[in-house]
Amino acid sequence: MEKITKSKTDYLIIGNSAAGVSAAENIRKIDKTGGIEIFSSENFVNYSRPLITYYLSGKIGPDRICFKSEEFYSRNNIILNLSTAVTEIDTSRQEVITDRGRKIGYGKLLIASGGKPVIPFTSVTGRNNKAAGPGSEISRLGGLEGIFTLTNLADAVALRRYIEENSISSASILGGGLIGLKTAEAFLEMGLNINIIELSGKILSASFDEEASEIISERVREAGSSIFTGSTIESIRTDGGKIKQLTLTGGKVISCELLVVAVGVKPDTGLVRNWGIKDGQGIIVDEEMRTDVQNVYAAGDVTRSHDRLSGQEKNIAIWPLAVRQGAVAGKNMAGQNASYRGGFFMNSVEILGVPVISLGLSSLEESSSRDIRVYRTRHPEKQVYRKIITRNSRVIGAIFIGAVERAGIYAGLISNEIDISEVLGNISGEDFGILQLPADYKKHLVVGEGVEV
């Protein structure tokens, strides 16, 4: 990367992850000469945030954690400013100010600063407070060793080091959602014993129903974890600046040498709080990813955008949507029209050898509403569970455990709001396919050339 920076650039992007990089890539496809600068507060050229748990466990090394190479930036003439946080945006002057005091003007600005971890407690008391690891919000709690969040690569690096240096043999994870479970899996692979502390009645409560959650809980327990549901941390005891013990809801005390807080993420909109860009929970954008300030766009985990299933604006912080939003923002920034149709929550992960995919409103039951129907296929001996939820003969949610192949067909059905009343017979079966879907749907599933069936 060149260190030469201009005082003005055509396209200024805050954030070097899915949305920011996708935007830059798409801008460059259209505008071959305009200046593109990306600002990242982190110190890594490029890495994929979802891969940090894989890095943590050692499943992949530092060479495989990036999703774009260094050469990508140079080939596309993208100036990358690392370890440089943008601290202010002056929308009237159309310029930003960095934490090093530099001012840069912009033609178009994209805020793709992503999300930050949710910390469910505001203070921790103990003796001999010491500063905690770098890059962690926990430092704001007055510093403590042994408490980490895990939302960026620096966290993962610090966590690995901490475990090695302190010969950690067990850990607790606050949060039984997808991040918490991936973290648990990483720890299990590293040989640690785990306690998972989950506030609601079951793990994966956001995207799974009772039955699916139970299948995974079973697997997690088999692998050597304890799960405490309906619990949160009431207090933390420390000793010599290091975490020692947790007291959970209901009084249960467990010893703890390492705590990872994985409750969730929320949009990192700190930048825009005082600068006239409307902030609900997430920067509000229209179909072209524009904010309500001229020439300022936003994309990715930092936004609130259209949720196709509820019809409302929501923050859906997942990788594919961030990439798509970044692309749409980039195209519009470079002058080509594009619009974002909206998305819905979906997730795919393999937990302890069991592949798991959830799509849309996957935790609904028939009792949730009159027009909801649920179809299931179960093979408990193979740990297979498939659940399809429909509303008015349209698929609105699905869960797949074990037999996940062809799950994307349902994503297509949800996205395109296809009436599936003709093919309900086998809708949750493992052999459900697209053969019986209407011919014109098969032919035009994805927009673009060369997709004819």
Binding site: K59, S348, V404, G408, A411, I434, E449, V451, E452
Partner: protein
Amino acid sequence: MRERHGEKVKKIFIEEQYCIGCRLCEIYCQVRHSKSRKILKAFRKELQSIVSRVTVEEIGYNSFAIQCRHCADAPCVDACISGAMIKNENTGVVICDQDRCVGCWSCIMVCPYGVIKRDISGRKVASKCDLCFGEEVPVCVKNCPNEALKFTDTDPDTASAKLG
């Protein structure tokens, strides 16, 4: 259609009405993606580890064979968290770099055709049609006994000479 060096890029078109459900396409795909590339050796010794990238769907007397459409706007490329799924701008082919794949199955989650498979014979990676790069014509097309798959740059439905 995208042009490359003056030639139009070819895709596989599916003619559902001619598919006879014999599944020879699946067999030849497996052979092509085996180590030995010889049908007897592949089926005797490698059967557990060769995944067919083309899937034949069959209900009653209707059937068709479907594989990756190499979409222009490929959702799998967006969804891939490791940068393994890439669309080659020149050839138009979407390729999964199995060395980079971490087996998260995000691509499977978004592919509306459901043509990506889990290859769990070794390291768990995603497996899908690669248009048989290296071959002049993909082997599924070449070996279909009823010409239900066509490798061409024009959609056969719009071709002017059409039989009744």
